[in-house]
Symmetry: C2
DNA sequence: ATCTTTGCAAACTTTTTGCACCAAT
DNA sequence: ATTGGTGCAAAAAGTTTGCAAAGAT
């Protein structure tokens, strides 16, 4: 349940010494409700509908806090703003350079590479902060416009 | 020879209808000389030493032009400014989230993933615009500071 | 002479910060 | 009553743009 999710997270926040404000609850709601990869701006807009005074800086600050608690993570999908998602939603992103479409892929797809990087370079790839850019199936079909 | 490289590129530019100015030649020199991944800012600083009037916007515009000609490419290694490199210098980057170090890896390392993405998702990964973030060998050793 | 390219200043986008006020504990 | 969170405005940081002057062809 999405309600539960919000409650669970506010409890977590309280545990860590954080305070629960209506802004925060509303931002969490928006984050839980958005089944996608919202930007800070989109979250702000969403919450402003019911909470007009909310400022973008509050959203950024709260998202930072949530990142510190390892609850959310942000990814750069391309040149635009970063997008946020829950850390337990583990997957990776294929971003099309041409049309900007985002395809989620299960992390199993990249496990091979992950292992190789550890073996050969001692590098622990962070699969969450990782977007693969390229050209999606649809754009590959189209003649170069 | 690096001189040759600059000549070859100016010739290429001329072919495409571009004009060769002293700024452009100097930017190309700086790009050829830098054996790394210079940012637009670093290139500007470099060239300004001998060409003080140069403006950052000129560098950006010229780099855009070079990208259009598929001579250079830019990569986002992390949160900072983009870095530029010649497209024929094909390699990939491992960027450490903690210390920011950049490890170049041969593209052979990622060929497996590349093939998998084509087979499973019809997605043509663009290996040049692709940085893998994570934790490098050295930082993995250190206790979390 | 023409048409690019340049330098400049100013806008723009995304994110961060300083500060006084407000609100949760 | 504390202390942390908020709104605001302003500053960063990186990049782009409009424009008139300068320069390459």
């Amino acid at each position: 349940m999405k309600e539960d999710r919000v409650e669970q997270l506010t409890a977590r926040l309280k545990d860590e010494g954080g305070r629960i404000t209506s802004s925060r609850r509303a931002i969490l709601r928006a984050l839980v409700d958005s089944d996608g990869h919202p930007t800070a701006e989109q979250l702000t807009a969403e919450v402003k509908a019911t909470h007009p005074a909310l400022h973008e800086s509050t959203v950024y600050r709260f998202l930072d806090e949530l990142e510190r608690l390892d609850v959310v993570d942000h990814v750069h999908l391309g040149h635009g703003p970063g997008v946020y998602h829950f850390t337990d939603d583990v997957h990776n992103h294929l971003v099309c350079d041409l049309c900007g479409s985002v395809t989620e892929i299960p992390s199993s797809v990249i496990e091979g590479l992950q292992q190789k990087l550890i073996n050969e370079f001692g590098f622990e790839m962070e699969p969450r902060h990782f977007a693969v850019s390229g050209c999606c199936r649809d754009c590959a079909k189209k003649p170069t416009t």
